[in-house]
């Protein structure tokens, strides 16, 4: 198990730097998934940045596509493209749009952004891998707010029906959505019980503990005959005080020079 702390710090710095370069962006939901991205790309996934479309590679579908900037920062840190490219985020003609786009960004495995769809796509990818018999592991990240979409549960039902044990999903449970706290807007109820009832192997862990994420993935890989859901307890805006202080406002927010500089100081500590 690698020490991923420094990598997480760099991903946060790069993410915030790219968002600051355009002045605003989805700070909160990017910061809440940094540890899972670092663990996947730097520890778990069978990938090769020099051959981003290699057949049989493990894949990640980030269904909460608005976390694109965090994924791009991770890909840059992992060597898929130069870190300088992150400064083009959301500028006209960029290869790095707000939401993940497989046709634009090297290393992105699926175009996402309309919530719920990426998760179904991941089920299709997992079926594709089974048909190809290549032994790939298909990872996907959804949001807790995103779990209000009906399509999530259509896909959940079918993935279990197909016994897709090559599919490992994460829910970023940061408990916030644009209009407020998830529990106040439309409560998800007992999410653990819901996924269990849908026939999934379920774990709940600290989403900011890379060792715990690593351990949960290993358990999920060992699980045969059903897909796995790893519920990540996270903090929206994790590591960036001005975002956390903004509360639900950190979903998409402006980033001033003062905020950016103080956050970079905070991350360097």
């Amino acid at each position: 198990m690698k020490d991923l702390g420094q990598i997480c710090r760099e991903i946060r710095e790069l993410t915030l730097g790219s968002i600051y370069s355009i002045g605003k962006g989805h700070v909160g939901g990017c910061m809440s998934i940094v540890e899972v991205l670092a663990t996947l790309y730097f520890d778990e996934m069978n990938i090769d940045p020099t051959e981003p479309r290699k057949a049989g590679r493990d894949r990640l579908i980030v269904s909460k596509g608005h976390a694109g900037p965090a994924v791009y920062a991770t890909l840059a840190a992992r060597g898929y493209f130069p870190r300088e490219e992150l400064q083009t985020l959301n500028k006209v003609g960029t290869n790095l749009p707000s939401h993940c786009d497989m046709n634009k960004t090297t290393g992105i495995d699926m175009t996402t952004g309309s919530l719920g769809q990426g998760f179904s796509c991941a089920v299709g990818v997992a079926i594709g891998s089974k048909l190809a018999g290549d032994g790939a592991v298909i990872y996907t990240i959804i949001g807790d707010g995103e779990s209000q979409e009906g399509q999530i549960w259509e896909a959940a039902m079918y993935a279990a029906h197909r016994k897709l044990d090559n599919l490992i999903a994460f829910t970023d449970c940061n408990r916030m959505q644009i209009d407020g706290m998830v529990d106040e807007v439309c409560s998800l109820g007992d999410l653990d019980a819901k996924w269990s009832a849908f026939g999934w192997h379920v774990q709940r862990i600290d989403g900011h503990d890379c060792a715990a994420i690593h351990e949960a993935i290993e358990k999920a890989k060992a699980e045969k005959g059903r897909p796995s859901m790893i519920l990540l307890d996270t903090v929206k805006g994790k590591g960036v005080s001005f975002a956390i202080e903004a509360g639900v406002g950190c979903h998409s927010m402006n980033v001033s020079r003062e905020q950016y500089e103080s956050a970079m100081d905070e991350l360097a500590r």
Binding site: D101, G116, Q117, C121, V123, G124, I127, E154, Y158
Partner: protein, 311 residues
């Protein structure tokens, strides 16, 4: 042969040769005639249950893995129900997903208004990059299939699943996107799509001939991208036209022909189809009368179009 059977037979042989091909159903495998595929190709032909949105996005995921999935449902569910999944998972993501929508318009018959797609072409035509194809007969469907499979990106096949009259011979040189002139004429252009309307258009042309009117019948099997050059060339010759579609006259063939005419050769155009109204139960024959889609309706529209020439 029933069109659904022709589709299934084609896929039976194509899937045996091409391991990229998959067929997904959403609990309408029986209605759409795809069940035999599951017996022969149980891994690549499967049912996702009553979850059309999930089906469309699963297909996109399969496409990202190099497969060419066909998804099937009734036309209403294969368009308006999954509009966002087609727009984003399939079209925006440039996935190679083929969509088969059956029972369009009045052919939904006793399933009635809820199942009567009058807006599928309109919904899908406005999605960037979509190709819309409606065969007039079995020969056209079978000749189109390899071109649809090899053309990258999403294609919508609007399929009348029952048996229809064959209009083309084996020597038919079909090309996706190129209009098919079924009958040349000089006085009025009748543009039609789909088996119901192409047959009625041909009957109307024969009736018009009895009145001394020479009607050109053009089968617009590919509603998008429409063969704009063929539309303009015909109107330049005849000076007036009628569009015939088993669909709302807004958003589908009429709109596409008007766009092509406006750019290439403006002319008076009359519209046969649902006049911006919803469907209802009835036999296809009864409903053609109710919604003004009969041979007689087309004859009347053609004469009215001709009377407006030069005004």
């Amino acid at each position: 042969m029933e069109m659904r059977k022709a589709f299934c037979n084609y896929m039976l042989s194509a899937m045996a040769e091409d391991e990229r091909l998959c067929v997904l159903d959403a609990d309408l495998g029986n209605a759409d005639g795809t069940l035999p595929l599951r017996k022969v190709f149980p891994e690549r032909a499967f049912d996702v249950g009553i979850a059309e949105q999930n089906m469309a996005s699963i297909a996109a995921g399969l496409s990202s893995y190099g497969f060419i999935p066909f998804i099937t449902s009734f036309a209403c569910f294969a368009s308006r129900r999954i509009c966002d999944q087609v727009a984003i998972s399939c079209a925006y993501a440039r996935q190679n997903v083929k969509i088969v929508g059956t029972d369009p318009g009045i052919t939904a018959e006793l399933n009635g208004g809820t199942h009567m797609a009058v807006e599928d072409l309109g919904v899908l035509r406005s999605i960037p990059g979509m190709v819309l194809f409606e065969p007039s007969d079995e020969t056209e469907l079978i000749k189109a299939m390899p071109q649809i499979i090899e053309r990258p990106g999403p294609v919508y096949i609007r399929l009348h699943r029952k048996e229809v009259k064959d209009l083309h011979g084996d020597d038919y040189a079909f090309e996706l996107g190129r209009a098919d002139v079924l009958r040349p004429g000089n006085d009025v252009s009748i543009f039609a799509t789909g088996s119901v309307m192409v047959n009625n258009a041909l009957s109307a042309a024969a009736a018009l001939e009895q009145q001394g009117v020479s009607a050109e019948v053009i089968n617009i099997h590919t509603v998008k991208p429409i063969d704009s050059a063929a539309v303009a060339a015909s109107l330049a010759k005849t000076g007036a036209g009628v569009t015939c579609e088993n669909h709302n006259v807004i958003g589908g063939l009429h709109s596409a022909v008007c766009e092509a005419a406006a750019a290439g050769c403006p002319a008076p155009l009359k519209a046969i189809g649902f006049q911006d109204v919803c469907g209802q139960v009835g036999s296809a024959k009864e409903l053609a009368a109710v919604f003004g889609m009969t041979t007689e309706d087309i004859v009347g529209a053609a004469l009215r179009a001709i009377s407006r020439k030069g005004r």
